[in-house]
Amino acid sequence: MTRDFTPKVVTASALLEGDAVWLTEDDRWTRNMAEAELIEDEAHGDIRLLFAQSQSETVVGAYLADAKAGEAGPEPIHFREAFRTRGPSNYRHGKQEAGPNF
């Protein structure tokens, strides 16, 4: 593990619904960021991103986003990524509709 590498998750938008999804360690796309694979190595991140980008039939616009380890799993660092785990702030639409965890 490189010393100055900020851990990452691979994230994208689902092709059909357009909502945020994250790549898990076992190659699934999850709608719950906490289930995502936290990548702590830059080279491994590149490989996972290439894998994600090959999934054009499932997801759109895959990229690596900074993340940190939380109690339940990876958590966002930047506010934009935090919004993507919830939904907009003006209505309770999007992922936050699902329940009190959001």
């Binding site: 059909l16 619904e17 357009g18 909502d19 759109v60 616009g61 506010f79 003006n90």
Partner: protein, 556 residues
């Protein structure tokens, strides 16, 4: 209003069928996203932060009751029961699923609407004065020309891959309500010495990261030359505009780099070249277009009931004071329906509200509705005797907020609540400012004031031309809001001046409050508006309200 000809109908239906096949191929995996993206953008389909977004064109901001009802139906059936009206007089649906979009487009085609060229590097939906055809100050209704431009620009084979997007606005009034000086091309109707109407052609205006006020390319263009002349402008831009740098690709940069005189020379040259090749508009055909925008027959009726209600009901009186504009016909008014109730999302209407507005347009407003770039809905032709009934129904639907042109009538782009390009949120800032001034009960005392908020440098919220502009940025991973002062989006367009360092999300509403309350102390008389006081006094006293610590330090 204009109704589709067989040609229009066939064209739009074919386009939906084509897109339906493209979506199917994308879902089946036969098209990659790189291949599909330009196709979906051509049909107004974006991929945003939480979902797809479909942007539907409302040409020159005009629609009828059946169209508004269909938008409501689409919102209920395929979206989340609401729509967002934008600063380009369009409507956006924030939650469609990819599979459903072709059906949504077919439903739009059922009422003569589409989403073509609401994205991409093409000529976008032509916007117009939202009071067109109704305003007392108008030379002529500009919408027949806007419709002509729509027909000319839709699927124009030469202009589907311009260096960058291209926006045209038209107004028929000397009082510019269409922000023509901040468009790629602005057309302002003027009269020549003999009194004949034509257009002042403004080019190279725009907001975004390099805001520029448009320059006059031609002080008087005869109406019959409109299409070849506009074609000449876009054609010159198409060749000259920069394709090497996205941020320098808009025509404002082309004009800036080459100078207005050189652009004029090139446009004139091109115009002379192409004019003989473009047949003049068939007068009979144009007369048909004009006929479709003909004024309704206005009725003569007493307005005693209106005056009596005004005298008896202070809430109604307040609403008529702020939400009505002078109509060209005796006894009539233009009604602005505020989509800015305090704490609501600027520009959003629920499907139920859309249906009520449609019903009111049908019952009292000659079946006409307009969308303003300020994200409100207009009933352009209303007899004053009907106003009490309209008000009562609007009120029951939460649509009777008396705040047009006031501090809470805020333009706000979707910002980072929806937009993938945004650097900060806009909507919560607008909501909080509106709530705060409602709480202070000072809105009517403050008087006319335009606050405009953008969630990124692209300036969809027109912050540069707000009297108070707010720009949301990302500063080291935290939302930060910069204030600009003294902007103006009318015929006297001015780009606002940046006041100083930005404010955090917690500080921005108190900062705006200090600014506005400070203005109340500075104004000479209650009728001196914020912008007038700013012009009289300059930025310094206003900056002192924003940055009291610095002002104190400077005074010490």
């Amino acid at each position: 209003m204009y109704t589709y000809t067989d040609f229009d109908e066939r064209f739009v239906r074919n386009r939906v069928a084509e897109f339906r096949a493209q979506v199917a191929r994308r879902i089946a995996g036969h098209l990659t996203e790189d291949e599909f993206k330009p196709l979906r953008l051509m049909n107004g389909l974006y991929l945003q932060l939480h979902a797809y977004m479909l942007r539907v064109a409302i040409p020159y901001g005009t629609l009828n009751a059946a169209q508004m009802r269909q938008l409501a139906m689409i919102a209920d059936r395929w979206d989340r029961g609401y729509g967002h009206f934008t600063t380009r007089q369009n409507i956006q649906f924030n939650w469609p699923e990819l599979r459903d979009v072709p059906d949504m487009l077919d439903a739009l085609a059922d009422v003569g609407m589409h989403a073509i060229q609401t994205s991409g590097n093409t000529i976008r939906n032509v916007t117009a004065d939202h009071f067109a055809g109704a305003a007392a100050d108008e030379i002529e209704d500009p919408r027949p020309y806007a419709e002509l431009l729509r027909q000319w620009s839709t699927d124009h084979p030469e202009f589907q891959f311009l260096p960058r997007k291209f926006k045209i606005a038209v107004t028929g009034s000397p009082n510019d309500r269409a922000v023509t000086r901040a468009h790629d091309i602005g057309l302002r109707m003027v009269r020549d010495a003999s009194g004949a109407p034509g257009f002042e052609v403004i080019v190279g205006g725009g907001l975004g990261r390099t805001p520029m006020v448009g320059k006059v390319l031609n002080p008087f263009l005869p109406r019959e030359d409109l299409l070849p002349y506009v074609e000449a402008i876009v054609s010159v831009y198409n060749l000259l505009g920069r394709r090497d740098n996205k941020y320098k690709a808009r025509i404002k940069i082309t004009v800036h780099e080459h100078g207005i005189d050189e652009i004029r020379r090139l446009v004139n040259e091109r115009f002379e070249q192409i004019r003989p090749t473009i047949p003049p508009i068939d007068p009979e055909y144009f007369a048909q277009i004009e006929q479709s925008f003909a004024l309704p027959v206005f009725r003569a009726a007493p307005v005693d009931g209106y005056e009596a209600t005004r005298a008896a009901d202070p809430a109604f009186r307040a609403w008529t004071d702020t939400n009505l504009a002078p109509h060209r016909a005796e006894g009539h008014a233009i009604v602005s329906i505020s989509l800015k109730s305090h704490g609501a999302t600027p520009g959003d209407a629920t499907s139920e509200q859309m249906r009520i507005m449609a019903k009111l347009a049908e019952r009292y407003g000659h079946d006409e509705l307009r969308i303003s770039h300020e994200q409100n809905v207009i009933l352009p032709h209303v007899h004053k005797s009907d106003l009490p009934a309209i008000y009562a129904q609007l009120r029951a639907a939460g649509l009777a907020t008396a705040n047009i042109g006031l501090v809470s009538d805020i333009i706000a782009c979707p910002g980072m609540d929806y937009c993938a390009l945004a650097t900060a949120r806009s909507i919560p800032v607008a909501q909080e400012i509106a709530m705060r001034f409602d709480e202070l009960k000072l809105e009517h005392e403050i008087g006319p004031l335009k606050i405009k908020i953008s969630g990124c440098i692209n300036a969809c919220g027109h912050h540069h031309v707000g009297h108070i502009g707010i720009l949301g940025l990302d500063r080291a991973g935290v939302e930060n809001y910069q204030i600009t002062l003294g902007g103006d989006g009318t015929e006297t367009t001015v780009i606002g001046e940046r006041a100083g360092p930005g404010f955090s999300a917690d500080e921005i509403v108190p900062a705006v409050e200090r600014l506005v309350l400070g203005y109340l102390d500075l104004r000479e008389a209650p009728d001196e508006t914020f912008i007038e006081a700013y012009r009289r006094l300059g930025a310094a006293p206003f900056k002192a309200f924003l940055y009291p610590q610095e002002a104190k330090a400077n005074a010490a």
